[in-house]
Assembly symmetry: C2
Homo-oligomer: 135 residues x 2
DNA sequence: CCCTTAACTTGAGTTATTCAAGTTTACGAG
DNA sequence: CTCGTAAACTTGAATAACTCAAGTTAAGGG
C-alpha cells in the first residue's frame, strides 16, 4: 500500500508536501522538524516550516509516524510505527538508535501496577554513551 | 542523614534556598520548575526563578533529585532517586504517577541489544488515561 | 575574621513550538 | 467537468521554557 492510500485511509488529503514528508521520515534516521523540512524542500521545493509542523502533527495523530522527544532535545520523527521498539540515546552527541523490544512481542507495554490507568503506549529510552563517543 | 549533609557530601554549599527546594520536591508530586519556585517562596520568601533552575540543575547533577520530562510538558522533578521506578502519564491532565519496576530490582536497566552503548539509565514512561479522566 | 568562589539576582536572549488570519487547493457533490 | 467547501498551506507574530551574561551577595575554608 502506497503512502497516498495510507493518507486517504486516515482521512487525510494527499498532497505533494505530505508524501515528501513521509518519504523523508522513512529515509531519515530520527530526524527533527528542521531535518524533515530540509528533506521535503529537496524533494518538492519550497514548503513552509509550519506546514511541516502541521503535517507531522496530523501524521502523528493518524499513527503514520512516531514522535520521540528525548529530554533536552527537539522532537524527532521516525517511520517505524506500531512495533513497540525502543530507543538508545547518546548523552554526548544525541544520536538515537533503535532497539528491539527486550522479550518477544510486547512485554514492555504493561506496567506491573497500572494504578487504574488505561495504558496505550510505553515509551522506553535507554541513556548512555554511544560507541563513537566512547573513544 | 539530613539534607544539609547530603548537600555537603555532594560538594554543594548549604543555603536556605536549596534546603527549601529539596523539601519542596520531596513534599510535592512531580512538580515542575514553577511549582518548585512557588513552594520555595512559601517556605523562605523571595527566591528568583533562575536560582531555582540553577539549583535544580546542581541537585540533578549531584543525583539528589530526579528529572523527568514527559513530551509536550515542562520538566518535572521528584525526590525518589536511584530506585529505578517508572512513570504513568495521563494524556488528558498530565498527572504523573509512580510505578514500581516490573520484575524485581532492575530488569529494565538493560536493553536486549545495547548496540555498543554504555547504558547508565532507563527512562520508562507509560502513556494512558488516568482514573479520574476516564469518567 | 577575611578571602575566594559558589550561589544568587536581574535582565536580556534563544529555541522549539504554537497561534492567528488570510489564501490556496484537494476532492466529493452536482 | 466545474464548483463549493473545508482541509491544507503561507506568512508573520506570539509564547513558553529555558539559557546566557554580568554584576552582587554570602558560605565556609584558611
Amino acid at each position: 500500500m502506497g503512502d497516498d492510500d495510507l493518507l486517504r485511509k486516515a482521512g487525510l488529503r494527499v498532497t505533494a508536501a505530505r508524501l515528501a514528508i513521509m518519504q523523508t521520515v522513512r529515509d531519515g534516521d530520527h530526524l527533527d522538524v528542521d531535518g524533515v523540512h530540509r528533506g521535503v524542500r529537496r524533494r518538492v521545493g519550497q514548503v513552509s516550516l509550519q506546514a511541516v509542523y502541521d503535517s507531522l502533527h496530523a501524521l502523528h495523530r493518524a499513527g503514520l509516524v512516531r514522535k520521540i522527544e528525548p529530554m533536552g532535545s527537539p522532537a524527532r520523527y521516525e517511520a517505524r510505527v506500531g512495533d513497540n521498539h525502543h530507543h538508545l540515546v547518546c548523552r554526548r552527541c544525541g544520536t538515537v538508535t533503535d532497539v528491539d523490544c527486550t522479550v518477544g512481542v510486547a512485554p514492555c507495554l504493561e506496567p506491573a501496577d497500572d494504578a487504574g490507568y488505561v495504558v496505550d503506549e510505553a515509551d522506553i529510552t535507554f541513556w548512555g554513551v554511544c560507541p563513537s563517543c566512547q573513544r
